[in-house]
Amino acid sequence: MTGPFAWFKWEALFAEWTVFGEGALMTLAASMLALALSLALGVMFGVMSTSHWKIAKAISRIYVEFIQNTPLVIQIFFYYHGLPHLGLSLPVFSIGVLGVGVYHGAYISEVVRAGIQSIPKGQREAAYSQGLNYVETMKYIILPQAKRIVLPPLANQAVSLVKNTSVLAMIAGGDLMYRADSWSSQNLYYGPAYVTTGILYLMLCLPLASLARNLEKKAEVHA
């Protein structure tokens, strides 16, 4: 058999499985850091976009529109190929964390904004009438209720964030996708390489998705 999935190609892959293992670890590390960054950015800008402070609202709007309406690949290319011409040469791993984190931060910001705005106005007014200030209102009244609404779309974002770290392959990032490209392009055994890579991404994303589902259940119980 000589097709793309010939057995000897699988054997070659098993013999060099560490290539894929290291790639998966790198993807995992970049994903976790990017996820933390995007959550921080998302909550911050999401809250800002619902505030009455016009400047905060405007900044948040600019961030979201700018990031949401340009392709991730272009943003990554800018960090990698563009910034060095301006005298700033970030290491490729940081570009992954920063690029993907900032990108998904914008989406998460929209998720958070939608969640906050879905809480009836009366809740906020009631909180103010009890003497709570803005931060306390957010912290004790609005955000805990919004959490229930934002969890499902947030889980979507987390999963697509993991998959989107594969853009690092285009800038020689050493992530799982890059390793698969690199390995399979050398020997042209692309069949087993991409099937394995797909399964590894599945293994990275599935636990995240089920974790999110558990959190969802928990949130509903407490609601």
Partner: protein, 269 residues
Amino acid sequence: MKGKFTILAAALLSTIVVLSGCSGGQKAPAAAKLAPEIQAIKDRGVLKVGTKVDVPKFGYKDPKSGKIEGFEVDIAKAIAKKILGDENKVDLQGVTAKTRGPLLDNGEIDIVAATFTITDERKKSYNFSDPYFTDGIGLLVKKESGIKSLKDLNGKKIGVAQSATTKKAIQEEADKQGIKLSFLEFGTYPEIKSALDAGRVDCFSVDTAILYGYLDDKTELLLDRFSPQTYGIASKKSNEALAKLINDTINELKSNGEIDKLKSKWGLK
């Protein structure tokens, strides 16, 4: 979508040809001797060829005319002439180092003439013709870097193309000279050039013929040449008949001096 439609149309067309051939009785005993894969190309009436579109002199899409031209395009035309009797019956499709293998496997193209280096490992997956060109790997660096030879690249980063044999060849040479290099792989040549310009890599290394296309005022090509690479025409592994036909054509071109004429036509050595 368009590709699918073309395949569908081709399939329909070939069915019609086959059907009408049947109704006309068995009047083509000469054609019956042909292998089914070759017959399929004949029925289709066009040879589907994968060539480079970004390598000047080999396979390059002229931005003005929109036509793909080059040494390898001419070789593909010679093969088309051999099979179909008309050198213009070629359907050229741009491929990259990364796409040429899969496109052969899924039948989207019949042959690849795209600076495809012959290696033993690759021979397991595809049929290669005898070599029609030999080229060494070159090193392109920024003038301002002051790098003059591979030795100067000790501890530096080399940008190479995915699916190219460069990495392995340079690594072997580096081991011999006792220097350490790291490699960054990119999908296309312009990306490597961009990485060189941005200082992401210190050296752009692929086959020398390809590097000539990227030489500009700020960069220079070092005199070092490594591990001569031989290019061959690749075809699907299962398609032995086509591989033989290609090889016969290549050897014919070599023996009648046609290949040397083509090389001088394109200014290649």
